[in-house]
Amino acid sequence: MSDTIALLSNVTIESLALRVKKEIERSEEEFRENQRSRRPNEPRPPGFDEEGVRRGQRSQQLSEPRPPELNEEGVRGGQRSQRLSEPRPPELQIEVFTPPGFDTWRPELLNPSSALWEDRVKTIYVILHGPAIFPEGAARFAEILSEPLNILAQARTEHKDKILVVSTLDLPSSSASPLTGVNFSARATAHWRNELEKMDFPILDLSELVAETGRERFYSPKMWYFGSLPFSGQGEILLAREILRIEKAVRGKRKKCLVLDLDGTLWGGVIGEDGVEGIALASSGMGSQYRDLQRVAKELSERGILLAIASKNNLEDALRPFREHPNMLLKEENFVKIKADWNPKPANIAAIAKELNIGLDSLVFIDDNPVEREAVKTVLPQVAVPDFPDGDTSQLPAFMKNVARRYFTTLRVEKEDLQKTEMYRAEAEREAARNSHLSLDDYLASLEMKLTLYRLRPGDRHAGEIARAAQLTQKTNQFNLTSRRYTEADLAAMTNDDRVRVWMAELHDRFGDYGRICLAIARLDTRAPDEPAATIDTFLMSCRVMGRGVEDAVLGCVERALVDEGVTTIRGEYRETSQNEPVRGFWDKMGYEPETNLPGEGMWVLRAPLNERRTKICLNC
């Protein structure tokens, strides 16, 4: 069952993942609330729970007397089968997964054994923070972006069963930009988007979200400096909702037909009373809000959404604006069904669904009249009936755009656009073939990583080393095999103890210096003189450098140092915490044999002679 979405990013993403989960819960509650409010007078079934709600409702609906207006046998039959098969909304079943570590999206996509490729994962969202891609500015954008683009193209080619959704980049202009000359930020964001479009990636339009919200509200410098998380709470909520919206589109839950009312919805006023001259509908100024609303509906129809009309009017009156009003954007031929009569709207809408042979749950109904909306909600609970903005008609176009996004987003447009898509896709595949195949090893090699491992000795380096070592033991949670927390005094004592070895490692790559990111502590055990042993008491690494094989390289150096001292048996310890799940299988992966393996903790052993550990890192140890 594909029920998991994965989030990848070049910045902290765990908080957004929690936010997405919250939005899923929220939409679940909304859904239940809706179901409940549609049967306000009925008591909750005993043993009320998720299943109970649905079962209870279904049986109530089945045993209900026919609504008087639905006497037509066919309609009622159609309705019943709809209700029986009514699904829960798709969001309810989505789990959210983020791979461990920080900024690991590239190695995760390249790693054939990443958890991303498990069956449960269906959609992968790659959300990129523009400024973090261009720490040195965007002048060399084409060169800098080529690697990420190659990785994305390749991941998709190799994992055709996954849907990769990629964000656009939002990149503020350099504050030192002159008024004339090239704006590299704008070029970089355009280049990224062009390339994604050429390769036909589904896009999460981050820069559009930012544009609508404003950078000031979307980002939070405080979160960025505290936790490498660029977004504000507001920004995260918008991103989470966008992800859910895309997820619905990906899962094909888009509605098929938009049913529109006429008076007060497509134009202002009442055609039967005001006449063609009297209704509000204009090409500019007052009345043009209705034209703008029509434009959105027209775009939907051009993208293959069916339009229909359900209006209480004389048919003749209803059609006059379409035929006579110069500012009607929508024409009769844009509609597949026009029901303008004095029948109850639920009956007309049910008839539209039946005649088009689509499910009631494929319909969205728009009406400015709350009484009509309520009638449709009550009689046809499967039909989506969004609230119409009351009071201020200047909100109508925005409302309609919202409806379009919420109910009618699709992964891609088929038919005539398909040809263009096909062309782009072929080009992208040629492009991918030209670019040499990228393996995880190639990628790691391209990082030009340099690792320096050094032993902490009493007094031979300044005191800052001890402080950093203590800080690493206290702050590192994910990649930490034993999670023992030490103070500076503890560590100073260890460096003075000739039976203890303490190492730290620094990492540097072509993007910059990561500083001291690894700590290993080994305790020597010479009780059995013929078999000198050592136990790795602490082995931890900052999550900023996970996914690059740094741990293999550090462990290799540590093992070699111990063997050089005559150690023949090395034991690795593991103590489980709520956060160190990513390293549960570490010793096993490193070739250690289990010695004791109790729930939550274990001791693993490796005996000399040791095999050389393969690495793509230039070692200095």
Partner: protein, 70 residues
């Protein structure tokens, strides 16, 4: 102050008191601290960057938020 405690409870998913601290609330990690600060920000209650790392308890949050309000 009750407002701040409510926000913290909401983020941590469990009811906390002024005496609760990172050591006795299960799952209160640095990510949760970050979300608490974020939620307080949204509610118009700012804790300065320098103080975030010092947060060890509900009382700390209340103190830092009050200092800022003054």
């Amino acid at each position: 102050m009750q407002n701040i405690i409510d926000i913290i409870s909401e983020v941590l998913g469990t009811s906390v008191s002024e005496d609760s601290s990172v050591d006795d609330v299960a799952g209160w990690d640095s990510l949760k601290t970050l979300q608490i600060v974020m939620a307080l920000d949204e509610a118009g209650c700012e804790i300065p960057l320098e103080k975030i790392a010092e947060i060890r308890s509900v009382r700390d949050v209340v103190t830092f938020a009050k200092q800022e309000a003054r």
